[in-house]
């Protein structure tokens, strides 16, 4: 398997193969970036490993996607950077449609808090151990997850109660 990785990313891949070989599912490159898919159960240990052992200390983004498949429907992607060598890796996990739960990364990065809230708000993926898992863009009264593929583009009429625009007459 030759992917032409940079030295640091190769180090991560070697480290993961030796220590977390049963969690590692696939490694591939797309448009110059390396994507590593691991088992969802051990995501925190893997993230902790790349953070402490390989200096990937900067969490840039957490991305949720809806694959719209019958098994392992949702995907959560962690975009992490190593500021020393300026490498970027993407670590992915997949979760099932029913009761999608991922361990929260807030214990590793405080920045994960809002990023995970956004994924929860848009896809309904819950993050276990998150200190304050509320919706971030939509109000709490909203019952749907708008970036799921089955949610219609025009929205669901009546799904959200709009504020009264006439002045109070109390």
């Amino acid at each position: 398997m030759s992917l032409d990785l940079t030295e640091t990313v190769q180090g991560v891949v070697d480290g993961l193969t030796s220590e977390y070989s049963e969690d590692l599912i696939e490694i591939y490159k797309s448009c110059d970036h390396t994507y590593i898919r691991v088992e969802a159960e051990n995501i925190i240990e893997v993230l902790n490993f790349v953070k402490t052992k390989h200096h990937f200390i900067f969490l840039c983004d957490i991305i949720g996607t809806d694959r719209y498949t019958s098994d392992e429907r949702f995907e959560v992607i962690y975009n992490i950077m190593n500021l020393r060598t300026q490498d970027r890796i993407f670590i992915k996990v997949r979760v099932e449609e029913e009761d999608p739960v991922v361990q929260s990364a807030t214990s590793l990065w405080k920045a994960a808090s809002w990023l995970e809230r956004e994924v929860y708000d848009m896809f309904g993926i819950r993050f276990e151990g998150h200190p304050d898992l509320r919706r971030i863009f939509m109000p709490e009264d909203f019952d749907y997850f708008p970036l799921r593929k089955e949610f219609p583009l025009l929205g669901i009429p009546g799904s959200i109660e709009l504020p009264n625009t006439t002045p109070d007459t109390e």
Binding site: D66, S113, W114
Partner: protein, 428 residues
């Protein structure tokens, strides 16, 4: 026991309002237990925004005060949520580009280019060199424009009104330049996948060159006015500190991160366009307070001028859009005078560019607010399967929630001004 919740009576979105008050009450419950007695009754919950002129858009802050000291804060965002990521999944790549103008509306050009470059990377589109230089010049102009708005409003938040008028006079000149270059003043939409919409006219080049020479003097005057101004320094020094050791943990980006000591700049880390061929510095400060952010942004404007000057020296002549009809729109001459040109134009509008299925791309540019990244998953059609915007304002607002604690309530406005969030981008 729901102390706050028993006192308030929300008029709309009741569950949402109840949840945010509860979340405020639950934050650092240990501290609350110690401060349980409040004999002077100095405790107060202050709602700031979303309709507040100093919150730079529709940002809502809920502050728990003890006297004038902020004890805890929660931010409520989403008032400008339009669901651009959902819209993107239903538009072709080129059709979605104008929506990016409305994200960070203070520097629309950076957003346009960021999206176009991500798509170009995904579909392996070659961009002519001249177009790359045009993009660079316009991106740096939009950086200046964005920083000018930050400077004017931040100094106004600190109490000096006239300064706002001066920075807006300069912004007006940049708008005139964009009007000449792109045909729009505000939402430019000038970038195209595979290049840019049209070349600089002679008048546009003249205007940019004139602006660059005059603005240098203007910048010098402002440095003279503010750098050692006692009122300004006392208002900004040691206010809203992002400590170096916390900055990465909190996810700061852009000038906020650079003012905390990390020289993280996407133009250096992954040089895109021709940034590896121009010579510029990345201004950095160690203090992490509002004053440090002021110096970083002021110096960045100077560096932008340097970049623009170098671009004009290096800019070659040539085409401004990829000549491959499968990759980019043909020129209007072709469209109006040849059958093939018309067919290609129609195809580009109808289906657009179709990157290979299953490919993913992440491309980040250094927007004025910080790292602006587009993550795109392609399914082989003309629409993205998933498009995620990594918005710098969103990440900097999270920093705000963490640094406000322990500050004075009068400094809130200055700190928001110093972080420079744009709600259009943070709320997506």
């Amino acid at each position: 026991m729901n102390e706050i919740n028993s006192k308030v009576k929300p008029q709309f979105f009741e569950k949402h309002q109840r949840a945010i008050y509860k979340s405020l009450e639950d934050k650092h419950t240990t501290i609350e237990a110690i401060d349980a007695e409040d004999p002077l009754n100095a405790k107060m919950i202050l709602n700031m925004g979303p309709q507040h002129p100093a919150t730079h858009g529709v940002l809502r802050l809920i502050l728990q005060l003890r006297g004038e000291l902020i004890e805890k804060t929660k931010l409520d965002i989403g008032y400008l949520h339009r669901g651009v990521e959902k819209i993107a999944e239903n538009k072709t790549y080129q059709e979605f580009m104008p929506y990016t103008d409305r994200m960070d509306y203070l520097s629309p050009y950076s957003n346009n280019v960021a999206l176009c470059m991500a798509v170009e990377k995904l579909a392996e589109v070659e961009v002519p060199e001249r177009a790359q230089y045009i993009r660079m010049i316009c991106m740096e102009l939009s950086r200046i424009s964005s920083h000018l708005l930050w400077l004017g409003t931040m100094v106004m938040d600190a109490g000096a009104i006239s300064f706002f008028i001066w920075t807006f006079r300069e912004r007006e000149k940049i708008y005139d330049i964009f009007d000449e270059v792109a045909g729009h003043r505000f939402t430019v939409s000038h970038s195209r996948i595979g290049g840019v919409a049209n070349d600089f006219t002679d008048r546009a080049v003249g205007r940019i060159k004139e602006f660059v020479t005059k603005f240098e003097q203007e910048l010098k005057d402002w440095h003279g006015l503010l750098d050692r101004n006692r009122l300004f320094i006392e208002r900004n020094a040691d206010v809203g500190i992002v400590h170096t050791e916390d900055a990465l943990d909190l996810g700061a980006t852009g000038p906020v991160l650079r003012a905390a000591g990390y020289a993280v700049d996407q133009r250096i880390i992954t040089p895109y366009l021709k940034y590896d061929e121009v010579d510029f510095e990345v201004p950095t400060r160690m203090e992490g307070d509002n004053l440090a952010r002021y110096f970083v942004r002021m110096e960045e404007m100077g560096e932008s001028l340097k970049i623009i000057n170098q671009c004009f020296d290096k800019m070659p002549k040539g085409s401004i859009r990829s000549n491959n009809a499968k990759h980019a729109y043909p020129s209007k001459d072709e469209v109006y005078y040849s059958m093939e040109g018309m067919i290609h134009d129609f195809m580009m509008t109808d289906t657009g560019i179709c990157p290979p299925a299953g490919k993913e791309v992440y491309h980040a540019v250094e927007a004025p607010k910080g790292e602006l990244g587009y993550y795109i998953q392609s399914d082989g059609t003309g629409h993205p399967w998933r498009l995620k915007v990594n918005a710098p304002s969103f990440r900097n607002l999270q920093v705000l929630e963490n640094i406000l604690e322990g500050e004075m309530v009068a400094d809130t406005v200055v700190i928001i001004g110093g972080l420079d969030p744009v709600m259009g981008e943070a709320d997506k």
